[in-house]
């Protein structure tokens, strides 16, 4: 009995180690292929369009309402302390430091990450990835590397757009709806937000983009067992990416603060 339990535990540990190793090898291969020329320029542009441009609408929408609700909540909370003038600073700092990078990453995961997994997963079960291999084409270089570059370019830019739109969403509610002075809104923002806040936000968005594209392409690349496998891979890619973004946000915040 004891022997069987030990065998079972050993098997699980070996399996987990193997999976972890495979994940690491995949990441290093993808990064190497993304960095080392020749680059697949057209494919990178196509992926930037898919991950970046096509996510723009959902990012703008999310950002506007996030800024608006932040402003609404912030205004009534700050008014209790007679500090409603600080609303611009609160909205901007919340967005630039935390909400911008995190919500952008979550939105990109939901919109583009799941599609990346499904697309690569369907290529896997349709033997198209094997077909690339038989033609002597490295599928990591061909499929994964351009998506890595595209995500690393797109997500920080989307985050910047999220921050700006969110700030103007907050402006709309705070200034236009609740009657705060526009000078106060932007004045306190300018004096409170420092360059380091912006840089930390950029670092976060770069880290999150790497996490998302790593998990989503990996899950697609190693999809098994037909349509159900694609569905399972897509779901787990979104769940794992989202959780890793939130955990990563805590870790990065503790390191960067």
């Amino acid at each position: 009995m004891l022997f069987r339990v030990a065998e079972w535990l050993g098997g699980k540990a070996l399996g987990a180690t193997r999976r972890l190793g495979r994940t690491g090898v995949f990441l290093s291969s993808a990064v190497r292929n993304a960095v080392v020329p020749p680059y697949r320029g057209r494919e990178i542009v196509k992926q930037i369009h898919f991950i970046g441009v096509k996510s723009l609408f959902v990012i703008v929408l999310t950002a506007a309402f996030t800024g608006m609700v932040l402003s609404l909540q912030g205004y009534y909370t700050l008014r209790k302390f007679g500090s409603e003038g600080l609303l611009g600073a609160v909205v901007a700092l919340s967005l630039i430091r935390e909400l911008g990078p995190v919500l952008t990453a979550l939105m990109v995961t939901g919109r583009a990450g799941s599609a990346l997994t499904a697309e690569i997963g369907i290529m896997r079960i349709g033997e198209q990835i094997d077909s690339l291999e038989t033609m002597g084409i490295d599928p990591v270089r061909f499929l994964v590397a351009p998506r890595f570059v595209a995500a690393l370019v797109s997500v920080p830019l989307l985050t910047a757009i999220f921050d700006v739109v969110g700030i103007y969403g907050g402006y709309l509610v705070g200034v236009k709806l609740l009657g705060l002075d526009p000078g106060q809104y932007f004045g306190h923002m300018r004096s409170s937000v420092e360059l380091v806040d912006v840089i930390n936000g950029v670092w976060k968005s770069i880290a999150f983009s790497l996490l998302i594209v790593w998990v989503c392409t990996f899950k697609g690349f190693f999809t098994e067992r037909g349509a159900e496998g694609v569905s399972r891979a897509t779901t787990s890619a979104v769940v794992i990416s989202s959780v890793l973004v939130l955990v990563g946000d805590y870790v990065l915040t503790s390191v960067l603060l």
């Binding site: 033997e127 198209q128 291999e133 038989t134 033609m135 002597g136 084409i137």
Partner: protein
């Protein structure tokens, strides 16, 4: 040459004869375990050069896995896969990609790229692996599409093609780089008899024109005995018979007999 798209008289690949020199591919003691199940069990197999080899057996016997080992898509847990005497498993990943230029492969599903039309699917390996200019690529693709009877279908996408057309495009793509070895994974499965015959004719004529080494997994028994030089019977992950079509057809092995005759009574009990 008759239209490969329509059935024609039986095509002959010529007598088995002696293979030219050493086998091009050799599998020695290949064993592979997948999810705790031994799918290949000490496989010893020679693939003769410039000949058509057919691999037959029941579904799940390990035929496709065997084919994947031949091109290095899967690594055996034990044993060696030798291409012209060199162990495929000793190549680095990069070297393996170079070696695969010698192969063309037709997958059971066709494995065409959904986002590319017929022309671009066939042109794909040329664009990726050669320095041919656009004119050269167009000319090469045009010639190969005419060979498989798909002239005029260049702008169709895979979802607009019939099963037979998908296999023909896949065969064109497998041939476009002029490989030495073509691996065909069930090229006729799921096709109606007319289309099946046209594909077999096409394979036969391709062989006559180019004398590729071909390895084909097939369930077209007994037709396959007219189309190949060498037959390998796989069952339970083992090679249980290998030799000329005549030798396999006259085998006394009860499983081979049952498979050749399509008998429901025999060592394999399905019900």
């Amino acid at each position: 040459m008759s239209d490969p798209g329509i059935p024609c008289e039986p095509c002959s690949v010529g007598p088995p004869g002696d293979p030219e020199g050493e086998p091009i591919l050799r599998l020695e003691g290949v064993e592979t375990v997948l999810e705790g199940k031994k799918v290949l069990d000490h496989i010893d197999l020679d693939v003769p050069r410039n000949r058509i080899t057919a691999i037959i057996g029941l579904s799940g016997a390990g035929k496709s896995v065997l084919l994947r080992h031949m091109i290095g898509l899967m690594k055996p847990d034990r044993g060696r896969v030798l291409l012209d005497g060199a162990d495929l498993m000793k190549y680095s990943r990069k070297e393996l990609f170079e070696v695969r230029k010698r192969f063309g492969m037709l997958f059971q599903s066709g494995a065409l790229f959904d986002s590319l039309d017929v022309f671009e699917n066939v042109a794909f390996p040329l664009r990726e692996k050669t320095n041919l200019d656009e004119t050269g690529i167009r000319e090469r693709v045009r010639v190969i599409l005419r060979k498989v009877g798909l002239e005029g279908s260049e702008e169709k996408f895979p979802d607009e093609l019939s099963g037979g057309m998908v296999r023909r495009v896949a065969l064109a793509r497998a041939m476009v780089m002029d490989p030495e070895i073509i691996l065909l994974d069930e090229p006729t499965t799921g096709l109606d008899p007319i289309i099946r015959n046209s594909i077999l004719n096409l394979i036969c004529r391709t062989y006559q024109d180019h004398k590729f080494t071909m390895v084909m997994i097939s369930h077209d028994i007994p037709d396959i005995f007219h189309w190949c030089h060498h037959v390998v019977v796989v069952h339970g992950g083992k090679v249980i018979e290998a030799g000329s079509p005549e030798a396999v057809r006259n085998s006394t092995n009860p499983f081979v007999r049952q498979l050749v005759e399509g008998d429901i009574h025999g060592p394999v009990q399905l019900m």
